[in-house]
Symmetry: C2
Subunit: 352 residues, 2 copies
């Protein structure tokens, strides 16, 4: 079964083409195309159709997508770009959603890594210009104004998932955490926590988007935001121990904490374990964001989490709308949810 030895280059075995199928059946290539693509408005005699279908199967015919792309002037692939610093969990989840959406249209996914050279020479732009991809989805990727302007100017189809893009012209998959955050705060309040602190890693973006939601939720529950209970770490990487000490001294147990990052929450759990602070009895912790490890930490971490799969799916659908010229919805907004786990549930059942 193996190919002849001595061939310097592993040649692709010659594929059967639609012409071969046509010859086999004794019809023209056009007819084969009509049948196989179910071209609307073209009538084919049933027996002809049947014969073509059978011959295609018998000859093991697979349409050459490159040729189709060539003719159609589109690559049938979309580029997905992410920064490297993005949580791989988020990215993979979104990717699953994108994947399912593009598969429906017989599109594939080409991965782009955001090695930004400059605004006009990023990898995804080169991919687009060379017809490798028909459109771009930015998932959690930072995006310069210059690049946005360039893409809009040049009519490059793209959508942005979960980024803080201000430009009104850009199609964005937005998410709304207002309800989920309210649920989280109510959950804490119902368990008797009167102090609900907010801890932030201080990165501008997260702060700007998440902190106001916290404020809304606190006030929506008829509580008040105490500045003492809002801590913003300017330099999270180092020396957090001291900052936690300072925070705990101010806050005093029992206290609840909403953290704007998973990592910060995990660190806090570590800190609590080290100091013998009981979670959640003395310190309830809820993180904003999702992580595969929310279930695995001890105690498992309650989260306010984004609809990742749906974000991917919707994002891809929007991109197709743009590429098809149907502008149905500029902005899609999806809801976050609150997933209570042991780090905030007082009367929790013993579970692993």
């Amino acid at each position: 079964m193996l190919a002849k030895k001595g061939v310097r280059r592993v040649k692709r075995s010659k594929n059967v083409s639609s012409r071969d199928v046509a010859r086999e059946v004794g019809v023209s290539q056009a007819t084969v195309s009509y049948v196989l693509n179910n071209v609307p408005g073209i009538k084919i005699k049933p027996e002809t159709r049947q014969a073509v279908l059978e011959a295609a199967k018998r000859l093991n015919y697979h349409p050459n997508l490159i040729a189709k792309s060539m003719r159609l002037q589109k690559s049938m692939s979309i580029g997905v770009v992410s920064d490297k610093n993005v949580s791989s969990y988020w990215f993979m989840k979104v990717l699953e959603g994108i994947k399912d959406a593009v598969s429906n249209k017989n599109y594939s996914i080409t991965l782009c890594f955001n090695k930004t050279l400059d605004d006009r020479n990023a990898e995804h732009l080169n991919y687009y210009r060379s017809n490798r991809i028909d459109g771009i989805i930015f998932a959690f990727s930072s995006l310069s104004d210059g690049q946005i302007a360039y893409m809009l100017d040049n009519n490059i189809p793209f959508v942005v998932i979960h980024s803080n893009v201000k430009n009104e012209m850009v199609r964005v998959v937005k998410t709304d955490m207002t309800n989920a955050m309210l649920q989280a705060v109510m959950h804490l309040k119902e368990q008797g926590f009167e102090k609900i602190a907010y801890l932030s890693t201080g990165s501008g973006d997260k702060w700007d988007r998440r902190y106001p939601e916290y404020v809304k939720a606190i006030e929506g529950c008829g509580m008040k935001v105490h500045d003492d209970l809002v801590v913003r770490f300017d330099a999270f990487e180092e020396g957090t121990e001291g900052i936690f000490d300072g925070f705990m001294a101010k806050a005093q147990v029992p206290c609840a904490v909403i953290s704007d990052s998973n990592n910060l929450a995990f660190s806090l759990l570590k800190y609590a374990a080290r100091k013998g602070i009981k979670v959640p009895e003395q310190l309830a912790v809820i993180a904003i964001g999702s992580s595969r490890f929310a279930d695995l930490s001890y105690p498992s971490l309650s989260t306010v989490q984004a609809p990742l799969y749906e974000m991917g799916y919707k994002g891809a659908e929007m991109l197709f709308d743009i590429m098809d010229g149907n502008i149905i919805n500029d902005v899609v907004t999806l809801e976050w949810s609150f997933a209570p786990r042991d780090s905030s549930k007082l009367n929790r059942n013993a579970q692993l």
Copy 2:
């Protein structure tokens, strides 16, 4: 800007082609191709070359990769397939390596999800048959014998990263954890642990590959494997608490544990925290495998870890060798490393 003929396309603004460049300079399309591709053995007058280069830049010419693919009968993309259940962290790390390797050859990455239909109709096979991809990299993907046989029979270029493929014909990126495991065991021994247990999730593959390494390392350190200290969970998902209880009753603290999975190790850390067992003083834990959260658990988790980036990079290089017909190395073996963290370091410094 462009649009010489005033043709207005809805989808994509008409791209400038090599023909346009040729006309602009007053040479033939062939010359443009020769210059832009630096075709070896073709002499071009320096001033001609210069003129072509300048015109290409001036006209903002970008070669159409689809057309090139069509002509060359290759897609310039390789498929990367992974199972969904793979740790996304591993996958992303390997992907980074693959990415860098394929970029060097002007190849792109097409993502395939392993929705296996049957041995001959998996998505990556359809992608290959329709010329969407020129070769396949399986990263942590399970792979049936039937599928392997099919791909070998049909001369489909593929390499396998980190899988337990037995077939000698398959090009595999293997890894070797012997040294790393030995280091881990020595590390435990040096800290005075006399009992070094082994916990496995019992999945056949991990067990078959990792447990023998444990045995080698234990014996390499002049110790002996005690069957009491080797526990294999047949049903890990549920009821682990009781199994941990049973294990601890047999093992008795102080004891060290090497776990063949990160998740199992995290669970064990949770269990220890719940039971008040001190880690690492009473129970030292080392996991085999990498995780973004090894640093974030409390205590941080020591790991014996794989060279993920290199595995991706090497895998891609091997695939190109196969596609080019140069069989340089059937098997590449890369070394694991041992990363000691707090879960196994007795005199650890306080660190977050």
